[in-house]
Each structure stands twice: as C-alpha cells, then as structure tokens.
Symmetry: D2
C-alpha cells in the first residue's frame, strides 16, 4: 500500500505526540514536515525524528505536492482557517478539537472540506480508548437491551492556568465537549435537549475569569434515554474518566485505569493505586489508535469515524449548555 | 437497664422482620403484642414467636399501660393517625416511611409527638447501612474536604404491581424519598432546590397509571454542592444502590454488596456475582441497626437519629420533584 | 414436621452461638437444655434464652428422653467420649472439630455412632460458607474442566494464648485441619500424600511451646491434581481466607469478605476495607447454615454432609503433616 | 550525553521488539546493525527501521569499532559463546535468558565478562514491570515488616510446540526460571533450598517428550521465609502472573493486568475482562524499561540491575528443582 505523506501543523505537546506516533508506531506513513509558529520547536523535533521539513509557516506544507494529509494541532482559533486552506489544497485533514468556537466558521470549514472531497477527522480521542470502544460496542450489540440512562463522569486532575481559562470558551466548550461527543458516541444517538447547572467551587479565580469549574448536565436523547455528565476541573486523585450505560437488559460500566495492579493490606486498610493522573498517559492507546484510523481511512478511502458534523454538534451542545445555565431550563440542540 | 416493652402495629413483611429482630436480636426488649387488620397474620406470628397479645385493633396496644413504644408498619395512609394517637397515649414511636403523603397530616403528627414529649423515629433504614454510614462519617470527618458533587444511584430490581403504583404517590414519593433522605444525610446539609426529569421507559402500564419509572433529579445543597439521583424501577441485575461523594480533597464511593466473593475466569471472561437482589437481604444489617438505635434512644433518653422533620422534608422534596417534572425548571424546597 | 429437641453441651463462645442460632434462626427446633462444666454459664444463657434445663453434667441431657440430638461444644478432649455416650443413648450428634486427637478414640466414637444408627455431623463450618460452596459447586459442575491446582490461604488474625497452643495438638491439627477438610471438599477427592514445611516466624514463644506458626503443605490428590495450603497464625490485617481452583478450562477464585463496600480515593491512593477480622463474623452465615443442615438431616433422615469419616481423615492428614515436617519428605495419608 | 551504538544479534520476535524499542523509544541510542542466521530477517527489519548494517554473521558487529554494545537474542544455545566473544571484543552485553543451560559455560561467560570489564545484563524482564517493581519496593521499604511467605503464580496461556519442549531444558529451566529470579528479586534474598513436585496434566505429549507441564516448588529463603511457585503450561484464560508477599505487618498483592476496564452486569452475573493473553502485551512496559536501564548503565557507568550471577543462580535453581522432583525431597541450591 502506498505510503501516506504527512505534515504536522503545530508541535506543542499534542502535536509532538502525534508526530512521534506517526513516525514510529503507524506503518505506511512518512512524516515529511512539521511547522510551528515557534520555528525552533519545529526544528527541534524535526532533528530528533529526522523529518526533512521544519518551518514556521504552514503554507509550505499545503503547497508541498508530496504531502497527502495534515495534522492540525495549532491553537484552537486557527483550526477553521487552516482546515479551509488545507481542503482547498487537496489535503486530507486531521484536526484537534474544537474545529472552532464560532459555528459559522465551523460551517465554512466543513463546506470547504465537502467541496474539496477530502477527508476530515476531528480529534475526539476518547472514542478510540479500548474500554470506551468496548462499552459502545456492547451497547450496539444489544447486550444491555434498550438504553435508559447514561452517566459520564469526567474530572480533570487540576485546572488549566487562568490565562487559558479566559480564552478557552468556558468549561462546556473546552472540557465537556469531549463528554458531549462521548454521550452521542455511546448510544449512536443524538441528544435533543439538555439542561446545565454548575458553579465555581474549586477556585474563585475561575469565577472571576467568567467561567465555572463544576458542572452537571442532564441530557435527553432522541429515542427517550436520559443522560448525566458531571465535570470538575479538579479531582485531586487524578484524571477521573468513567461511564455507565444502563438499559433494559443490563448495565455496562467503565472504570478508571490505574498505573499498577498492586494492593497492600495492613492493619488499617487495603490500599491500591489512584487513577492515572493525566490524559496523555490515560489515553496513550487512544491517541495512537485515532491516528492509525485516520491513515487507514486515507489508504482505504473510507469515511473517518468522527468527522465535521461530530465536531460541530459538540460545539452546539456546548453553547446549549451555556444558554441553559443562564436560563435555568432545558435548551434544545440546534442543528 | 429496664426492658422496653414493645407493640408492633402491622405485621406484613416489614413488620414481621422488625418483630423478629426485636424479639431475637435486640437486647433489652419485650415484644408484648402484635396487631394487624388481618387478625390471623397477627395470631400466626404471635404463636411462632411466643408473643402474648395478638389483636386486630391497634388501640389495644395504645391502651396497654405496660407498652412503652410502638412500631408502626401498617399501610402508609394510616401512619399519621396512629402516630398522633400513640403520642397522645404516651408511647414512643417508630414509624415506617412515609409519615403521610399529606403535609398537613405530617404536621399534625409531628405536633402531637412534640406535645406528648415522646420519641419519633422514621424508618429511613439506609442511614444505618454500614457502608453508607461509613461514607457519611468519612465526609463528616473532612476526609474528602469540602463536598462538591453527590451521586446517588438507586434502582429497584423490578417494578411494584400496577395496583400499588396507583396509590404509591408516584416514584418521587414512594421510591426516591429514600434517596432524598440519603442525599441530606450524606452531607448533613439541606437541599435548597431541585430539578427533576424522567419518563416511562420500563413499562407503559406505569405511564398509564400516571407515573414514571425512570427519573433523574439534580439537587442544589445549601452550601453550594450539587447532587444527582437516578432511579429506575427495573434493574434486571438486582438492587443497585451506589453512592459517590466527590470533594476538594478526594472521593468516597460505595459499591453494591454481592452474595459471594467468587469469581470464575474462563476462555471468554471473568464472571462474578451480580448485586444482592432485593432490599430485605441488602439491608439486613441496617434494619436491625435502626431498631437497636430506636431502643437505645428510649433507654438513654436521647434524640432519635432520624425524626419527624426528616420524615417531612423528604416528602416535601418528593412534591418539589413532581412539580419540577411538570414545570421543567428548578423548584425550591419549601420548609 | 415434628420439632427436633436439642441439648447443647458446652456453652463457651461457639456453644452460645449455636444455641442462639438454634433458638432463634432455625425453625423446627426446641432447645430443651444446656450444660456446661461452669454451671453458671449454662444458667446464664438458659435464663437469657428461656431454656428449661441448665445443668453442669451432660448426662442429664443424654438421659432425657425428650431430647433428640446434642450439640457438642465442650473442650476437644471430651468430644470422643461424649459422642460415644450420646450415640449409645440414641441421640443424634453434632460435634465441633476435632472428634479427638487420638485416632483410636475417633474410631471408637465412629463405631459407637454406626452401631447406634444415629447421625453424626462434624463442625467443619467452612463447607457451608456461600462463597466456598459456590466454588465447590462450580468445580463439581465441570465449569473449570479437570482440576489441576488447588490453593488455599488460611491465616488467623492473631495467635491463640500460649497455654492453648500447648494443648492444641499443634498448627496442623488445630488450625490447618479446617484447610485439609476444605481441600477434600473442594474437589470431592481424597488427598493421597502430603509434604509439610514450616517454622516459627511470628512468635518465638510458640516455638518454645513446641509448635510452629507458619506452614506450607503441598498435597497430591488421588486423581493427580496438586494443592498447596499456607497458614500463618498472624495476619495483622484480619482473617485471610481465600481459595483458588485452577483447571483445564478455567479458574475459580474466592476472595475475602469485607465489612463494607466503601472506597475512598485521595491524593495518595485508593483505600478500602481490610477483611473481616475474625471467624465468628466471617462465618456467620456458615455457622447458621451448618445447624440448619444438621436439623434437616434429622428431620428428613438423610446423611449429614460432613460426617465421622471426614472428621477422622482430617486428623490423619494433620498427623501426616507433622510426620512430614520432621522427615522432610512426602508422607502418605493412612486410612 | 554520547549516543550508545548498538548491534542486535538475532531478530526473532524478541529481537525485533528490542530493536524497535531501541530505535524509537529509547533516547541516546543508535542502532547500527542487526544480524540473524536468517539473513533475510535481518535485512527486512534493517530496511523497515533504516538500520545501516544487516548481516548473517554476528562477528561483523563484534569487529565493528563503532559499536558499544550488543543485544543477544539468538537461540539459547549460542548465548554463552557470543557473550564470551563480545566481552573479549570489549562490547557491553544484554543477553536474553538463559545464559546457558550448562553451568560451566555460564561460568566461562561470566569470567570473560569480568576479565573484559564490560557490562552484562540478563533479560529478566519481569523485574522491570511497574507492578512487580512497586511490590518489591514496598517490601524493601519495610511496609509489610519481615516477609514470611511469598506466593508466585505463573501460568502460560498455552504450551510451546513439542519440538521446542524437547530442547527447552524442561519447565524448570525454561519457564520457572523467571519465577526463580522473581522470588529472589522480591525479597532481595537468596533461596537456600527448594522442593519440587509436578506432573503432566495438560498434555500427555509433553510427558512423552520427557517434561512436565504442571509444577509446584516450595522455597526456603536464607532468612527463614517460605515461598511457593506454581506453574502451568496452559491457563485457558490467558497469561496468569500474580504474586503475593505476606509479612509481619501486612501483605502485598499483585493482580493480573486486563485489556479494558469494562464490566457488564446482566441477569446472570457481572462480566469483566480476562487477563492480557500473552507476554509481549503483558510486559510491554517491562521490556522497554529493561532496555532503558541497560543503556543508562552504559551511559552512567553503573552496575546493571540484573547480571551474570542472577543469570547463573536461576539456572542452578532450575537444576535443583529437577533433582528435587526426582528425589522427592528438598535440595540445596549450590553456589
């Protein structure tokens, strides 16, 4: 099978991880170039991984005829623009979430992708986690009958810097967006309306920045099931990522991953590991699997498992949650 | 210590269990009499357990000067009236939930109890479960810092008969009332407002009877924490009773009890027990502990750990939930 | 069904527990009398539980024509003699382990029982534990194919007093005897030879008393499977009672029971309960179930599930272990 | 820090895995060459991973002055000879277990290493597993007091081909050798004597090949603790790798790793994953960590954590087990 030539745009922590995965752990791939607004960052990783091109401006990748696809890991506000340009240049696109915080911009990007006939995969990595995938497949196979209730717990180990909070779009668009996508993914159903509550319990500075740090959203699915998502910006014990789907014939539960399988029992109690602390470690397998899937879609000319529509609807759910929080009532998801 | 003389009013399943516990497993107690509208039921258990009095009319117990306290396990609609009369007769009272579905009647009963200076304990058995009690004590001790989120899962293994559903007061007053009490108990805080959603997913007949069978309630506590309760009338795998309290310094979780500690691993998977199937078996220890506590309160002249106010507020929360379900918005708990 | 009239011989801790169980939790039983060499102990429980007869000398029970069966909970050195006399008096017999430490005495007791045609059940309570019973039944049902390996862990929370150690017969006859019985029970197979190692690691005083406190025994079953038992007199975290049976098609494991289902996760680790601390609490259900089974065998005239042969063979395994410890090689179990 | 130049000898499954790890996941390394008796295998991986040298004869690596160290993954019978030659050529050495099945050859290899002053690390990968490492560190830190009992369960998912069984040296030298090393590692103590039992329960063909497939070994440690190891060539549910260390102050347990954290509860039971099926997946982290450690020892000029003595003593324990199996008694470990 022909090798897929890749360019990576943005080599911060996530970008470097994808680059390394593509270079070393995904077969059928050549990483031809990396770009970053911090040119030295691009040069450093290019040197380490023996990547030919290291530039500041992403246009060099779009203009490069050898490049088949780009991985967009630049700052969120640049995503939509780069998607549009990459699509026009005929490149397949993997883009980290969110496509944009502005629905119009998302629509423009999606339109550009459609027009160009290229592939667009959005970085909802959790769909590729072996545990969540197995849970979803069990539901799809009918193992628990008709789903009635979905419960998603999603808590970060520590809040981001206040500077980031200010530009993040708020907890619903920055953090819960992953859970909105998970909610849709697990049942393979749309959410028709939702109701959000929340407040600032972790750090008053988050409140001063106009955001909240603790939130619960209640979801209504199109076929009548109900869901809840709870978010906290600070779970001192680590990255808490659990789900549960309860149905007419049973219940599927996904617990946290732990670093080791060690327990020590003493005079007081039995002690075992707390969950894996942060997302890079927690979702190692998922980040790799999503990249493999993207490459496979290009090679086999199939539809990416998570695309522009998924990227858009999750943002719309975030806006609905923001609106609901203010209104104090259910808000329908616009489509 | 002087023995406490007891009369039991109503010897259906719960009444018989309490009678047996008082007779055999609680020290310092004489069970002097049992009454039931089905006189034969009273006579049968009186014969089995060698209890002197077995009558149809509970007034014989109230008029009996040797009796110190009554255990009210008759049908719910009789509770308030019997409480008032028992209080006037100077008897201490243990009464199964709910005191009444009518707030005025609850108030009258509570007033009678106060006037008489007798003790009233309401049958919220789950407070006495060793696991939930430990969880509450961990929270009270500051182990998890300031509570931010409470999650209560409470699912019955199968719905009650439709005839019962019709007179039950509905899922919020019949089933979730236990969870409302648990929510208050866990944080030792009042809930100031709540929001209910739900529908009929288990059995259309429940809907035709004017009730729902699946519900999620979001709670706001007086000090700012948030809570969710989910109820289903039918968890095919058994009685699902879990809680979680998440706070600034950690998280307490209570899982289900299982009949055995056996696991069998084969070529397909590892299999272990589903939860204990129903409440009598699940809460064996709790039912006994609440009786011991009631007797101790009489002997030591202390305040029952769960009293008239708890009985009233949980009913008010049930009404608030019913109102919220209709309104589609948060409803404050009236006091 | 006719009530079974019972006399209890010896009302130390175990005897009182059986008496209470028989009086309150086993239907179809009258407890007519209790005896104890400490007459006051007999009188005290007789008064508490309203038992007509309370004497010092057990012969009064054997001579009492109303009594159908006796429960022997006196000191171990009296068991064989009382069994023989009770059998001659035509009483059915439940006897705590061991029947005797002397094989001849065991044989005499068994002969007396056979001659009299009465029932004899020996107190190997663990067979009646719901978890171990389920494990055994899974094996018997072929769930794990042909058994290859059995592993039994059995550790006490603290050693008995040295005064007891001296007369106990040693760790193999006093403590591991339960595990020998469990080993036979789990596979429903005899052990043909065994090899013991061990030493004094917990407390030198146990060594000075001529015993060891830590032991491992390797077993060979008649159909070729292998087993190991490990014992320690002191597991600081409580009563450690686990088993595992590994076979050609899978593995059955039984873990410890814990007091609650609570876990608390904090910045350091996740903490849950250590095992239940001691045997009365650990085997509450088993002690009751063995009594129910004994009464049922009398009522239905069936064979007790654990009888004289089981009582004898476990003592023979204890002697084989003692011999093996000295010899340093495998020793066959004599029959 | 200067890069370490590596040559890999033998690129079967294990050799390829090490090569890939060294190339992509260990920093500070250049893989300069690979050799294999199947030259095409060497050429294939050299092409895939862009490695300059790909030859049939390992001497080309020993003669190459740029190469600092070799990774020996050739067939077991060649290990000792290659170690000696590599040492003479001044190369540091990582060698898969066993060094040899002949003690004299092991001694010659170790002598050559010592004389040359190069580093030798033996491939006991399990020492580098995060769970076992944590367990060992907990023991070393005194968390469980003085160790009394060690239990190692080690069962393969399926037996090797009979052709391999015939040349493997037998279960003790081929399979349990890992557990002998683990036993020493966990307590950081030598085993002074051991006793082996076992038989052929899995497959008669293994017996016909002169080996057994099921074995239990009892160990005595130099400071008085006892250990047991059980091995089976066939655990149908996957690679079963558990340990337990019991001491005067508590107990450390290591359970199996599972592919996902999913549980599904239905009307019958709760089902979760069986263990990870085979060693490459089970010990992914460990195989990488041992390579990192080897490179670090070269760079920092420190002593490898598992060396020639460890490689020798584990083989001696294997011979002791073979002897014990025949003799039916304990055999001392010669040193």
């Amino acid at each position: 099978m022909r090798k897929v030539n890749i360019g990576v745009i943005g080599v911060g922590r996530i970008g470097r991880m994808h680059t390394r995965n593509l270079k070393y752990q995904v077969s059928g791939v050549n990483v031809l170039g990396v770009v970053d607004v911090l040119e030295k960052a691009a040069q450093r990783i290019a040197k380490d991984l023996e990547i030919p091109i290291a530039e500041k401006d992403y246009h060099c990748l779009l203009e490069n005829k050898d490049i088949d696809a780009v991985i967009i890991c630049s700052s969120s506000d640049t995503h939509a623009q780069i998607i549009s340009e990459a699509a026009e240049a005929g490149k397949h696109i993997f883009c980290e979430k969110p496509i944009a915080l502005d629905i119009d911009k998302i629509d423009q990007a999606i339109t550009a992708v459609k027009k160009a006939g290229v592939k667009l995969q959005v970085g909802f990595n959790r769909r590729f986690d072996p545990s969540f995938k197995k849970a979803k497949n069990l539901v799809a196979s009918g193992k628990i009958g008709t789903p009635h209730l979905v419960r998603i717990t999603s808590r970060d180990p520590e809040p981001p810097p206040i500077s980031y909070v200010k530009v993040s779009g708020g907890i619903f668009l920055d953090m819960m967006i992953h859970d909105f996508d998970m909610a849709r993914y697990l049942l393979d159903q749309e959410v028709v309306e939702l109701m959000a509550v929340g407040s600032c319990l972790v750090d008053p500075a988050i409140g001063e920045a106009g955001d909240i740090d603790t939130a619960i959203v209640t979801l209504k699915y199109e076929k009548g099931a109900w869901g809840t998502i709870d978010n906290s910006r600070k779970a001192v014990y680590g990255y808490d990522q659990r789900i549960e789907i309860f149905g007419s014939e049973g219940c599927v539960m996904v617990g946290n991953k732990k670093p080791t399988e060690v327990a020590v029992i003493g005079t007081e109690d039995a002690r075992s590991d707390k969950p894996i602390f942060w997302f890079i470690e927690r979702y190692t397998e998922a980040f790799l699997a999503e990249m493999k899937e993207f490459i496979k879609c290009i090679q086999e000319d199939t539809r990416p498992p998570v695309g522009g529509f998924d990227g858009k609807i999750s943002v719309q759910m975030g806006y609905a949650a923001k609106e609901s929080l203010i209104k104090g009532s259910f808000v329908k998801i616009s489509k």
